[in-house]
Subunit: 244 residues, 2 copies
DNA sequence: AAGTGGTCTAGACCACAAC
DNA sequence: TTGTGGTCTAGACCACTTA
């Protein structure tokens, strides 16, 4: 078994939803019906449906069924960890990447200290992203040398993540992100063609691997007039749910 | 059975993690051990652990166990649908709410049209939120009269959501949010004490009930220097995972 | 009453990690 | 080899919705 059955079922249902076989507003077949259809147990079907719930494709209603949600509402999937190249693909934008810097540089002290890192040695990459020849965002990545000894300019130009995951077999598990609005220095302002007082939207990420070790720190500086973040949130039940 | 067993187990484990019984970096007891401890099946334990994963409290590592994550990294839980009052509680901020407007007003045409609503009648509430006597954010809510016939000033001053959920028994399921940076008019700028060219961070939300019916539209305008959004994201596997 | 999703069980086999 | 989490099954009972 290369890939789990419930994931295959989830993928198949996802495809059918995307191709309009199950239109928005309709209900999927019932769980027992799906179990028979896919020759599986109902619990396996339920695991597959949980994937669709996580992907915001369906909403379950007790006693009624699983309703297909309106896919058009979800244009910009960012609650996930998404990279510029992935977005480029899914949004079919006319985008380019220019590598402004690629060098050895330690993690910023504050970050290294907060994470209690023993070895702050990292590779620093600064990239300018443009869409339709308009500068949109500057990314600054610090990647720990412990995990990634070297990065070529070609890799930086395409997708760092596909290099990390496909070639180095690093398994990225989760990340924390913060979004703030802050002033930038003139060099950045010029690269981004900022006219207004030099405010940019800062997205800072700390990325971790599956074994929970810290791996990468990223700062993205977005042009405020081009920035858009779309999120999909499910409310945890107030009584029984978990409270952080 | 008032509340599901797996949720009780999840709550118990969560409490124990918060009280340091399972410190960050340690591993929880194995799934068979937990099953015996809680007199349940292993699948039920796994459902409980999935809750902890969703709450970013643990990370599982195959062949090793469930590692407790560092809770201090997750200060501001916003990937959830969180309201100002809830945040106020959890963050222990010294906050106040001033109701600037409370009246009948239809949903903005564009929204009503996009959602194909038959009845755009709504209650409009504009509120100014301050923390430590500094204006932070102005919220504008449109609540469909179909679901909420009336709102008192007292309810607007405390928490609309607790009124909706506890008194009206409305079950809120999910919401879409967008975050952008946009200019504001002078009235808003003045209320927020904006000095710079009048830019604010706009957070727009569409909120839906459990039966997937649209319920509420909210626009929050934040002072850029006071705005901070923190997100926690898990990466979907590239090969087997679902792609939006 | 019939059909739906929500929960729970007891057992099984697998892949991965550590010894 | 042993213990861990990952997956899957077949059946059961419950609560909710609709007729």
């Amino acid at each position: 078994m290369v890939i789990a059955k419930y994931l295959q079922i989830a993928q198949d249902l996802t495809d059918k939803i995307k191709h309009g076989q199950y239109p928005a507003g309709d209900f999927l077949p019932s769980e027992p019906a799906l179990a028979q259809l896919y020759s599986s147990s109902r619990e396996t079907i339920r695991k597959a449906l949980n994937e669709l719930i996580d992907a915001c494709l369906i909403q379950k209603i007790k006693g009624k069924g699983s309703m297909v949600l309106d896919i058009n509402r979800f244009v910009f999937p960012v609650s996930d960890i998404t990279t510029f190249s992935e977005l480029n693909l899914s949004q079919k934008m006319n985008a380019t990447t220019q590598v402004l810097a690629l060098e050895n540089r330690n993690l910023p002290q504050a970050i290294a200290h907060q994470l209690a890192l023993t070895d702050p040695a990292a590779i620093f990459v600064r990239r300018l992203r443009t869409v339709d020849s308009e500068p949109i965002v500057i990314d600054e990545d610090y990647v720990l040398k412990k995990y990634v000894p070297a990065i070529t300019k070609e890799q930086a130009q395409t997708s760092l993540y596909s290099y990390f995951e496909k070639e180095l077999n690093l398994e990225i598990a989760y990340a924390t992100k913060t979004i703030t609005v802050e002033p930038v220095d003139e060099l950045i302002a010029e690269k981004l063609h900022l006219q207004q007082p030099n405010l940019a939207v800062f997205v800072r990420s700390l990325t971790y691997l599956k074994d929970t070790s810290f791996f990468q720190y990223t700062v993205s500086m977005h042009r405020p007039d081009k920035f858009k973040f779309v999120d999909f949130a499910r409310r945890k039940s107030a009584h029984g749910g978990l409270v952080l």
